[in-house]
């Protein structure tokens, strides 16, 4: 999902964090005066659990893993990612074409798709969805992705009633005209922001649409008790025949990672994250290890250095930091659930550079560089980090390593939101732990967003600037040919690694465990797993 990911475990949690409990059903049934159970005996119901409530189910509003997980079950986009990869496949659009200069994109819709209220899905529903995101009144975080459509600025400013660059010549055709070439535009249409929503239902509920969502996806919202549980049921009229295979999904809310594990052990939930403390045990137990699934997500964790604040203005110091920190140890501390980073781009991302060597652990070299830079006895620096137990442990590992080269690290744990605010202020945060998870499978989503001059004060939190780097990005941006595009991005990445604004820490690996009766589950490197093809073999029902 986007973006700035909470270091270290939060984005994983939602994706991995699934589970549930049957007794929640029983419990609330008692309270409500025993209404009819939602699912008949023997129904195929997947039980999940998570700690926090789902922020929203409104596609215009959601911008986090938890929301997207359920939004993509309830809504459909024109195109989507395949279950296990980041290649675009048809969803409601049966086919699509792009103009050679990547400014016009034409999509042809299936004609057999209906919202769960019975109305046929038409091209106007997609136009409406994107206009809704662009409308400032909606306050959607997805707005930035559709500003490149011709006429979007006029619409957002209230100078036009509709976006001129979105044309719907007939109910089954939609054409997007962009004001500048953007070869990765189709990826933006695969984000839940661009999912078809029925205008009449949104008009009826307004801001409350999130609680009364109607979409065309494989599942429908049946019940959402805030802070307790979310129940989705199968959409019998879903346009893909035989899908979904489940009758429903129940997500229990307010269940932390450790509790999920207990529930998983009793068989009350079907999927679970694996808490750090039990991870070594799971790996050593072959019965459990066989039930785990792992995926390298498109995420990079890094220690950002503010290139405008001494001593990090000196490239020798920044290189020394990279040599001084033992990334293998960091990965070991998180139970091996990561790959030491060699640069900015994670290995699952198209355009990854496997030949990039990065910075091996070499404290002697770090000491030499520090001496050259005029810090023979090191220095003292303060690192800002999210106040989180795992994070504090990782920070102490870094603190241990840096002490060996004379750098005394002070830890400053702060809340996640204040941390984000602080790193956007110039010359405020000298060092910070951060991370980024891809929105699109394209190097631009890391290099442009995190390291270009245009993002100073926004996402370029290390205040890095190199004119050669920016020139390469500008050259790569309009290119549709992946080979040429990626070659330029690789060159740009080499500049950023040679003049490192970050200590490249590691690429996290998500692990999840399923019950032996859960089949057909596939993890995706960039999006929450889809559940429409999951099925359950007979199993003892939880107490």
């Amino acid at each position: 999902m986007d973006a700035r990911v909470e270091f270290p475990a939060r984005p994983m949690r939602a994706r991995a964090a699934l589970a549930a409990m049957a007794f929640a059903l029983a419990l609330s049934a008692c309270r409500a005066g025993s209404p009819a159970p939602i699912f008949p005996p023997g129904a195929q119901v997947l039980h999940l659990a998570s700690l926090d409530d789902i922020p929203t189910l409104d596609p215009a509003a959601g911008y986090d893993v938890d929301s997207w997980m359920f939004e993509q079950m309830i809504f459909d986009t024109l195109i989507r990612y395949s279950d296990s990869g980041v290649d675009l496949v048809p969803d409601i659009a049966a086919s699509w074409t792009a103009s050679p200069d990547s400014t016009v994109f034409t999509f042809h819709l299936r004609r057999d798709v209906r919202f769960s209220n019975g109305r046929a899905v038409a091209s106007a529903d997609f136009k409406y969805a994107i206009e809704r995101v662009l409308d400032p009144k909606t306050r959607s975080k997805g707005m930035e992705y559709y500003r490149g459509i011709a006429g979007a600025a006029d619409f957002a400013a209230g100078r036009a009633n509709s976006v001129a660059g979105i044309e719907t010549p007939d109910p089954w055709t939609i054409v997007f005209r962009l004001s500048a070439p953007d070869p990765i535009f189709p990826h933006k249409l695969a984000m839940p922001f661009a999912a078809a929503v029925p205008r009449e239902v949104v008009a009826r509920y307004g801001e409350d649409f999130s609680r009364h969502v109607v979409g065309s996806g494989p599942f429908m919202l049946r019940q959402w008790i805030g802070g307790q549980r979310l129940v989705l049921v199968r959409n019998p009229d879903y346009f893909v025949k035989g899908v979904p295979r489940l009758d429903g999904v129940v997500e229990a809310i307010g269940v932390n990672e450790d509790l999920q594990w207990f529930r998983f052990e009793t068989g009350a939930i079907d999927l679970s994250a694996i808490p750090p403390a039990v991870f070594p045990y799971v790996i050593k137990t072959s019965r459990l290890k066989a039930l785990t699934m792992r995926i390298v997500t498109m995420t990079t964790r890094y220690l950002g250095m503010n290139c405008q604040m001494p001593p990090f203005t000196d490239v020798r110091v920044r290189r020394a930091m990279n040599y001084a920190i033992d990334k293998r140890k960091l990965v070991a501390v998180i139970n091996g659930r990561g790959i030491p980073a060699n640069g900015v781009l994670p290995p699952s991302l198209p355009g990854y550079d496997p030949d990039l060597r990065g910075y091996p652990y070499d404290p002697a070299r770090a000491r030499g560089l520090l001496e050259n830079a005029g810090y023979p006895h090191g220095f003292t620096a303060t690192v800002w980090l999210p106040a989180d137990q795992t994070m504090m442990i990782l920070a102490q590992s870094v603190q241990q390593d840096l002490a060996l080269v004379g750098v005394q690290l002070k830890l400053k744990p702060v809340g996640f939101a204040p941390l984000l605010d602080a790193i956007r202020q110039p010359r405020t945060v000298p060092l910070f732990f951060s991370g980024w998870e891809a929105d699109f499978p394209d190097p631009a989503n890391f290099l442009d967003v995190l390291l270009s001059r245009a993002q100073w004060g926004a996402n370029n939190d290390s205040w890095f600037y190199d004119p050669r780097f920016d020139a390469l990005l500008a050259k790569a941006k309009p290119l549709a040919d992946p080979a040429r595009r990626f070659a330029l991005y690789r060159e740009a990445q080499r500049i950023a690694v040679a003049d490192p604004p970050w200590v490249f820490l590691y690429f996290p690996v998500t692990w999840q465990i399923r019950q032996p009766w859960v089949h057909g589950l596939v993890l995706n490197p960039m999006r929450p797993a889809r559940l429409d093809r999951v099925w359950l073999s007979p199993h003892p029902s939880p107490k």
Binding site: K329, A332, V333, M392, S397
Partner: protein
């Protein structure tokens, strides 16, 4: 003067001296550097073994060495924070008890207001506002725990200042300062000693609590409370990481409590024998 200790006092004193010994000679006693990774137990803590008698934590640090060094922080915080507590508490208590009247009412109502606020909550708020560090922790613990001392000292000072010898001294023309320093304060001293010995265990626990809430002395300095906090995730799989620092806290608190209660008991007996 012959000092005869009762059993409780002797046991308490021995335990406290043991703690002080460990704290002072930590560098000689600890087998390893408490902040460095000395075991390859990353992410998978090691159980107690011959090389690491109390195990090694998830960052490869030796638990025994960390507990030994943790004694330093505990002792410094326990004693220094108690000194601050006493300084504030005794000053306010003496002033209120001896001067009486409006000063007494004002100081005691202020004390009551401070008492309404839960110490730990107040300490958390103060640490969050101030920069976390050893000095902050000392100051904050002193600032939140003086109230009990002030009340007890006030009561004692009030009763003493009405006794005949004080009245006589006053009639002889002793100044207020002289009365407080020469007559009231020395007689309040025994109760202060008891409050101090018993109070150290309270400040120790408060420090452990703050550390457990990650508001204590920041890493890499080892502290018992933080050791427990850092091992909560491993409680089921590596309970020794939490149990040993827990026992260390128990030991220190018990030592000071025995000392304080033993002394109190002796005073009572002495008083009844007199």
């Amino acid at each position: 003067m012959k000092l005869k200790l009762n059993f409780m006092e002797a046991a308490g004193a021995a335990m406290v001296l043991g703690l002080a010994f460990v704290a002072i000679f930590a560098p000689l006693l600890a087998p390893h550097d408490p902040t460095r990774a000395v075991a390859a137990s990353f992410g998978d803590p090691w159980p107690p073994s011959r090389a690491f008698p109390l195990g090694a934590d998830q960052l490869g640090r030796d638990v025994l060495s960390r507990i030994i060094y943790g004694a330093r922080i505990s002792l410094i915080v326990g004693v220094a924070a108690m000194a601050i507590t006493l300084a504030i508490g005794v000053a306010i208590g003496l002033a209120a008890g001896f001067l009486g009247g409006a000063v007494d009412s004002l100081l005691m109502r202020f004390t009551d207001v401070m008492l309404t606020m839960p110490a730990l909550l107040l300490a958390m708020a103060l640490v969050t506002v101030l920069h976390p560090g050893l000095l902050t922790v000392l100051l904050v613990i002193g600032l939140v725990s003086w109230t009990q001392v002030a009340r007890v000292v006030r009561a004692e000072a009030l009763s003493i200042s009405r006794r005949d010898f004080v009245v006589a001294a006053r009639a002889l023309g002793a100044t207020r300062t002289r009365l407080i320093i020469r007559h009231v304060a020395p007689n309040v001293m025994p109760i202060i000693v008891v409050m101090a010995a018993l109070g150290v265990s309270g400040t120790l626990l408060l420090d452990a609590g703050l550390s457990f809430l990650t508001l204590g002395v920041p890493p890499p300095t080892p502290s018992w409370g933080r050791m427990i906090e850092e091992s909560t995730a491993y409680f089921r799989t590596a309970p020794w990481l939490a149990i040993f620092p827990g026992l260390a806290i128990l030991y220190a608190v018990m030592g000071f409590n025995l000392l304080g209660h033993g002394y109190l008991r002796r005073r009572r007996r002495d008083a009844s024998n007199r």
